[in-house]
């Protein structure tokens, strides 16, 4: 599916995503297209499981370039995001120099802090990537702490980093940057100002059904309709943790593996843990609620309305 050139219109981008089995609506495609054209990072927000991370994956796949992923977590710092020195090798090198009596302080410092001893982390790899610009996915940035955000801002404005011992490293071709956030906290305005923004919503019935049929073609049409209808109904229920598209896909894949071609109350009760990951939610839905929803989705024509 790899192409030699970037898409030249929103339609072409839609095709490219569809080729990777990603069903994007026009708004998302427009945002991605503009991010590519303007060379800006794209910030994707939305509830868990609506396919934010997937965007970066399919984009890398469709453009035929490498995906470099930086998973954020609390305490993520430069050493894990950009670079670190390989201390073990450096220490060993010093010992060797000492043993062979060639330890010259000036020279040692220069030698020990050369590229040879540098461990490249995702951001640096994205900046030093030769050839086609890679897709740099900065996943769940809201998990990292604010210090890191400030640091990231610096990189995203100039696409360069400074390593004190080595100097400034600048990207020849800036990477395509996709940032995702689950909104566990609000990101800083300064960072957002650098980015284009898109909010990914839960898909409606039609869209989710086409995602399901594209991703799990082995599932029967009837099962796909019922599962999609069921999950759509679940999202209207007051639950602690709403099921995302990835849960829908997991569920239908599991049901297909179990050779089911239709939803019934028992099957739902047995497999509900794939869709709902919270004990209270499962207790609230199991039994009567499941039957009520099943009644409504038994005739998929009516359920989609």
């Amino acid at each position: 599916m790899a192409r030699d050139r970037a898409p030249r219109s929103i339609d072409e981008l839609c095709e490219l995503l569809a080729g990777e089995l990603y069903i994007a609506d026009r708004g998302l495609a427009t945002s991605i297209y503009l991010a590519l054209q303007l060379g800006r990072p794209l910030l994707l927000e939305g509830e868990a499981g609506v396919g934010k991370t997937e965007v970066a994956k399919v984009l890398a796949g469709g453009l035929g370039t490498e995906l470099i992923r930086l998973q954020c977590y609390e305490g993520l710092d430069v050493n894990h995001a950009v670079y670190e020195w390989n201390y073990a090798r450096q220490l060993l090198e010093i010992r060797l120099m000492e043993a062979s009596g060639t330890l010259d302080r000036e020279a040692a410092a220069a030698e020990l802090f050369s590229e040879e001893f540098l461990v490249r982390r995702p951001v640096l790899r994205a900046l030093q990537h030769g050839g086609r610009p890679p897709v740099l996915l900065i996943d769940e940035l809201d998990r990292a702490d604010e210090e890191f955000e400030g640091f990231l801002l610096e990189i995203l404005s100039d696409f360069q980093v400074t390593i004190p011992e080595l100097g400034t490293i600048r990207a020849e071709a800036p990477p395509i940057v996709i940032i995702t956030s689950n909104r566990t906290r609000e990101l800083h305005d300064a960072l957002k100002r650098r980015c284009l923004y898109f909010w990914i919503d839960y898909p409606d019935y039609e869209k989710e059904l086409s995602i399901v049929t594209a991703k799990v073609p082995a599932a029967s049409r009837r099962l796909a309709e019922q599962v999609t209808g069921f999950v759509q109904e679940l999202r209207l229920t007051a639950l602690y943790k709403v099921a995302g598209v990835s849960e829908t896909l997991d569920w239908i894949a599991a049901l297909t593996a179990l050779d089911r071609s239709e939803l019934d109350a028992r099957t739902v009760d047995e497999t509900l843990g794939i869709v709902l990951k919270n004990q209270e939610d499962i207790r609230a839905v199991r039994g009567e609620r499941v039957r009520a929803i099943l009644d409504r989705v038994a005739h998929p024509g009516a359920a989609g309305a």
């Binding site: 054209q37 794209l42 609390e74 040692a108 210090e147 566990t184 957002k192 100002r193 923004y197 639950l239």
Partner: protein, 404 residues
């Protein structure tokens, strides 16, 4: 582009008037973005502007409203000679509506008078007067005393415990700082006799206030809002909510300016002020809409209520259990606990008590000082909590977990 650019700038002004932050740079980006899309396609035009000019989910509805009002198709020109080619030919005419002049409305006199009016400021002169005020029940305060208490409240020192983060700092600690070690080794040839160390950075815990403003709390509401205001405005990372039947987030209001400017705005936003109490439901909506976003990083939750609950006690117990599980420490503050002989016997209180880590009074300044001291000394570990399947015979649990 013709008339598009001036219209775009006008649209930017409209968005600013609606409270969106639209820096000049964004308008430039928007203009550049429009060069890349077919602006004859209304959907593309809309999304291009949206992904540049909107930066947070909360701004989407005002943006949509502004877009619909501003970028209207001109009437009358719709069905001219070439009805089918219209989308290609005619794009967007002059706006038909003037941007709503929100500034004028906002400038209105912020309802003076009423129960929330500004009392005269008054500093208590003598030590004994201050002492008396410290012990006086909030419910018995006069307007002047409220103002005096405000000053005293501002002097309280809130630390709210601390937690070690995952971030390292140079300095005496358990970890070896290999980077500094290497640098000095390279410089001195020998391993430094003093190994550089590093330690974890320490941060104050986030604080979440959930305050009951229902009818039964009325005598305390004003002082407790003062309390919330002084915490929310004075510290970073504090989130505030009020509820009676419904939960409302009031952090932005409380951050803004002085308490007396804030209160009228609050009473406007909180619709069910002084209504009945449904603690369980309020906590339920907190759990669904907010908990995952703000209870990270070992938050401490202060739940302020007298426990008069008209909702289902089972639901309350379930929600309390859940809230306790998702925070570092759950503190219930009850103004009635200050009254001699008070027993927490209401259904709501009985259901909730086994599920709180601390049960403390909040009826006068002295109790606030006690609270501040208590929070400053919070242990780093979570308190021991009963482990049971959710919603399982909660009412039978002992009150052992309660500290007074």
């Amino acid at each position: 582009m013709g008339s598009l650019l001036p219209n775009l700038l006008r649209f930017g002004r409209l968005l600013r008037a609606l409270g969106l932050e639209v820096p000049a740079g964004s308008m430039l980006t928007a203009a550049r973005a429009l060069e890349h899309v077919d602006i004859g396609r209304r959907g593309d035009f809309y999304h291009a502007l949206r992904c540049v000019l909107v930066r947070r989910a909360a701004d989407l509805p005002p943006f949509d409203a502004a877009f619909r009002a501003f970028w209207r198709r001109p009437p009358g020109r719709r069905v001219r000679n070439r009805p089918r080619a219209m989308g290609e030919e005619i794009r967007f005419g002059e706006p038909e509506v003037d941007p709503p002049s929100l500034a004028a409305e906002a400038g209105d006199d912020p309802s003076s008078g009423g129960p929330l009016a500004e009392p005269r400021h008054l500093e208590l002169a003598t030590h004994s007067a201050r002492e008396a005020l410290r012990r006086k029940d909030f419910a018995l305060y006069s307007a002047a005393e409220i103002a005096a208490a405000e000053t005293m409240m501002a002097r309280l020192d809130w630390e709210v415990g601390s937690r070690r983060t995952r971030r390292w700092l140079a300095g005496a600690g358990p970890g070896l700082d290999l980077r500094r070690l290497l640098r000095s080794a390279a410089r001195h040839g020998q391993d430094d006799p003093v190994l550089p160390r590093r330690r974890r950075k320490v941060r104050r815990r986030p604080l979440v206030l959930i305050c009951d403003v229902s009818g039964s709390m009325e005598r305390y509401t004003r002082m407790l809002l003062h309390f919330c205001h002084s915490l929310t405005g004075g510290l970073e990372g504090v989130e505030s909510f009020v509820f009676s039947t419904r939960l409302t987030r009031v952090t932005p209001e409380l951050r803004r300016g002085r308490i007396n400017d804030v209160l009228p705005a609050l009473s406007e936003r909180v619709h069910d002020w002084s209504g009945g109490t449904r603690i369980g439901e309020a906590l339920g909506s907190f759990a669904r809409d907010w908990a995952r976003r703000i209870l990270g990083h070992g938050a401490v939750v202060l739940l302020i209520s007298d426990g008069w609950d008209r909702g289902d006690p089972e639901l309350l117990a379930r929600e309390m259990a859940r809230l306790q599980r998702s925070c570092h420490r759950l503190v219930w503050l009850n103004p009635l606990l200050g009254a001699p002989g008070y027993e927490p016997l209401t259904r709501g209180m009985r259901a909730a008590l086994p599920l709180v880590d601390d049960f403390l009074p909040v009826h006068n300044l002295e109790s606030l000082e006690t609270l501040a001291r208590h929070l400053n000394r919070l242990p780093e570990a979570r308190s021991r909590r009963p482990v049971a399947p959710p919603g399982h015979a909660l009412s039978r649990r002992s009150r052992a977990a309660v500290q007074r």
